[in-house]
C-alpha cells in the first residue's frame, strides 16, 4: 500500500496502518540517525518520538510534500535539537578515530572486495563536511531525490547538487590515492 493511502487510514485512527508505516520507515530513519551521528538507542527514541507526534497530530496533520520528506525532516529536526541540548553528541562516534587512522593502510587487494569498497566510501564520507556528508548519504544510501533532500534539510536544490558534486570529486581523488 502506498504511503498516502496508509496515512489517510492513520487519519481515521487505523493503528494497523500506523504500524505498517512505522515498520516501513524504522530501518531507514534509524540509519539516517546513525549517519547524523546519533547512537542506536537515541536513534530509536527519536524515531519513536516522531511517530508518536504523527499519531497525536494525525487528525490535523497536513503534509504538503510527501510523508517520506516529512518523516526525514522531523527526524533531522529532533536530532539537531538533541545535539544542541547535548553538545557532547556533536563529537563523531568513537569508531571514527580508529577507522580514520587505518584508512590509508588498506591493502590494495582489499579495495577489490565490494564490502571493503563500501567501508572505504563510508569512511571517505566521514571526511566530508557535515552537511556534505549528510546530503551525499541521503542521495547515495537512501536514494532520496535531490528535491526531497532539499526539502528535508531546508536548503536549495542547487546546494544539494553542489554537495553531491563535491563529494564525488573528493571520492575520486581519494580512490586515486589508494589505487
Amino acid at each position: 500500500m502506498e504511503d498516502i493511502e496508509l496515512l489517510s487510514k492513520v487519519k481515521t485512527d487505523d493503528r494497523e496502518a500506523f504500524d505498517s508505516l512505522f515498520l516501513r520507515y524504522y530501518p531507514l530513519l534509524s540509519d539516517f540517525c546513525r549517519f547524523l551521528g546519533i547512537g542506536d538507542d537515541d536513534g530509536e527514541d527519536i524515531v519513536a518520538d516522531v511517530f508518536l507526534d504523527l499519531w497525536i497530530k494525525r487528525e490535523r496533520l497536513y503534509i504538503h510534500t510527501s510523508l517520506k520528506s516529512y518523516l526525514y525532516g522531523a527526524v533531522k529536526n529532533k536530532v539537531y535539537a538533541l545535539k544542541r541540548q547535548n553538545q557532547k553528541l556533536q563529537l563523531l562516534p568513537e569508531e571514527y578515530a580508529s577507522d580514520q587512522a587505518i584508512s590509508d593502510h588498506l591493502h590494495p587487494d582489499e579495495i577489490l572486495v565490494k564490502k571493503e569498497r563500501l567501508k572505504m566510501i563510508e569512511r571517505f564520507a566521514e571526511e566530508l563536511p557535515e552537511q556534505g556528508k549528510v546530503v551525499f548519504l541521503m542521495n547515495w544510501q537512501h536514494q532520496l531525490e535531490h528535491h526531497e533532500i532539499a526539502e528535508i534539510l531546508n536548503i536549495s536544490v542547487n546546494t544539494v547538487r553542489t554537495h553531491i558534486y563535491r563529494a564525488i570529486n573528493y571520492f575520486r581523488k581519494r580512490l586515486l590515492s589508494v589505487k
Binding site: 481515521t12 494497523e16 508518536l52
Partner: protein, 344 residues
C-alpha cells in the same frame, strides 16, 4: 584525473539510478566511448554506486521499538475515541492488534425481487441495530466494532446484526461493498445477500457479488470463503483464491470461474468497470454510478455483453466512448437516459 562539471556527474548518477531519458542515455554512451575523462569519471562513479549497500533491515529491533511505542500510545489513548469519518457508527478502541491480518471481503450483490422477501424473513429483534446506506454516485466507508472496514458502493444498504460480535458477526447487504474483515477464528463473519450467504473462513479474502443485477457474484482474492446458497449444505461452495462464484437469479444455478482483480475492485478507485455485463446490468450500473434512470429501448440490446473500464468521467463521455465501438445511440429524455441500438 580531470575534474568534470556538475552536469556530467549528475548525468552519470542519473544513468546509474535509471533516472535519465533515452536521449540523455544516448548522449552518455557516446561520451563514454569518445571522451577519456568522461569515461574515467563514469568508471569511478559506477564503482562508488555499486558499493552502495542496502539499508539494514533490522526487523526485530523495529518490532521491539514498535511494541514500546504502542504501549506509550495506549497509555495516552485511554480516553474513548471520537467517532471520525462520515459515519456515526460506534467504534471500539482497538487494543494492540499488532500484526493481526485483516481479511478482505468484497461483496457485490443484488436482486430487487428478493429484497422484500429477505427483509420479511428476518427474525425480529436480532439485527438492524446499525443501518447505513448510500445514494447513487456516493461511496462510504464504515468501521464496524470488530475492526472490520466496509466500503459501501453507490445505492447500497448495509445492516449489521444486533448480536454482532457475540458469537457470529453477521451483516446484511443490499448493494455492493468491499469488506476488509478483521480475522477472528472464534467469530465467523457472514455476509447475507439474498439467497447467498458468504462466510469468511480464512485470513485473506475478497468476495464479490452484484446488486440489482441478474447475478450474485462472490470473488475471492486470498484465503478461503464458504458460500452457502439457500441455506442448503449440499450446495455449499468453498472458493479458492482467484476463483469467483456466480449465482444466477434467473435459473438459480451457481458456477465457479476465474476472474481479474481489477474488474472486481475497480469501483473502489473510482473506475467504472463493465466485466462482460449484459446491457441490462450495465444500465443499472450506469444508473447507480451517475444517479440517472436508464432505459433500454431495443430488446435486441439485451443479448449484448459489455466489457470495458472508464475512469470517473461524465456520463455523456462514457456513452460517447461506448458509441464509438458499438452499434448504439443514446439520448436524454427529461432526466432519463434512453439507449437504443443492437449488438455488433
Amino acid at each position: 584525473m580531470a575534474y568534470m562539471d556538475e552536469h556530467h556527474y549528475l548525468l552519470i548518477i542519473g544513468y546509474l539510478e535509471g533516472k535519465i531519458t533515452e536521449e540523455e542515455t544516448q548522449y552518455l554512451l557516446q561520451k563514454v566511448q569518445t571522451d577519456k575523462d568522461f569515461s574515467e569519471a563514469f568508471e569511478d562513479i559506477a564503482e562508488i554506486w555499486s558499493a552502495r549497500k542496502p539499508v539494514p533491515n533490522n526487523g526485530n529491533r523495529a518490532n521491539d521499538a514498535l511494541y514500546r511505542l504502542n504501549r506509550k500510545i495506549d497509555q495516552l489513548d485511554t480516553a474513548p475515541r471520537k467517532v471520525t469519518g462520515t459515519d456515526q457508527n460506534p467504534k471500539i478502541v482497538k487494543l494492540r492488534p499488532v500484526l493481526a491480518i485483516a481479511a478482505s471481503v468484497l461483496i457485490l450483490t443484488g436482486v430487487v425481487w428478493f429484497y422484500n422477501a429477505r427483509i420479511n424473513n428476518k427474525p425480529a429483534g436480532t439485527f438492524a441495530l446499525i443501518e447505513t446506506h448510500t445514494v447513487a454516485g456516493q461511496m462510504k466507508k464504515i468501521d464496524l466494532p470488530d475492526g472490520t472496514v466496509v466500503t459501501l458502493n453507490a445505492a447500497s444498504k448495509l445492516r449489521v446484526a444486533g448480536n454482532f460480535d457475540n458469537e457470529k458477526r453477521e451483516v446484511y447487504l443490499d448493494g455492493e461493498a468491499f469488506f476488509d474483515v478483521k480475522r477472528d477464528p472464534q467469530k465467523p463473519f457472514i455476509v447475507h445477500t439474498g439467497k447467498v450467504a458468504t462466510q469468511v473462513l480464512g485470513t485473506h479474502f475478497n468476495v464479490s457479488a452484484y446488486q440489482n443485477d441478474s447475478n450474485i457474484i462472490v470473488s475471492l482474492i486470498q484465503g478461503k470463503v464458504q458460500v452457502d446458497i439457500n441455506n442448503d449444505p449440499s450446495k455449499r461452495i468453498i472458493l479458492d483464491p482467484g476463483k469467483q462464484m456466480t449465482y444466477s437469479q434467473n435459473d438459480h444455478q451457481a458456477h465457479v470461474t476465474d476472474f481479474t482483480i481489477e474488474d472486481i475492485t475497480g469501483w473502489k478507485v473510482n473506475k467504472l468497470v463493465f466485466n462482460y455485463d449484459s446491457w441490462t446490468d450495465a444500465a443499472k450500473k450506469l444508473s447507480r454510478w451517475y444517479g440517472v434512470p436508464v432505459q433500454l429501448e431495443d430488446s435486441t440490446l439485451l443479448r449484448c455483453k459489455l466489457k470495458g473500464t472508464f475512469d470517473n468521467i461524465p456520463l455523456s463521455k462514457v456513452m460517447e466512448q461506448i458509441k464509438m465501438v458499438s452499434d448504439i445511440s443514446w439520448k436524454m429524455q427529461g432526466n432519463t437516459m434512453i439507449i437504443s441500438g443492437k449488438c455488433n
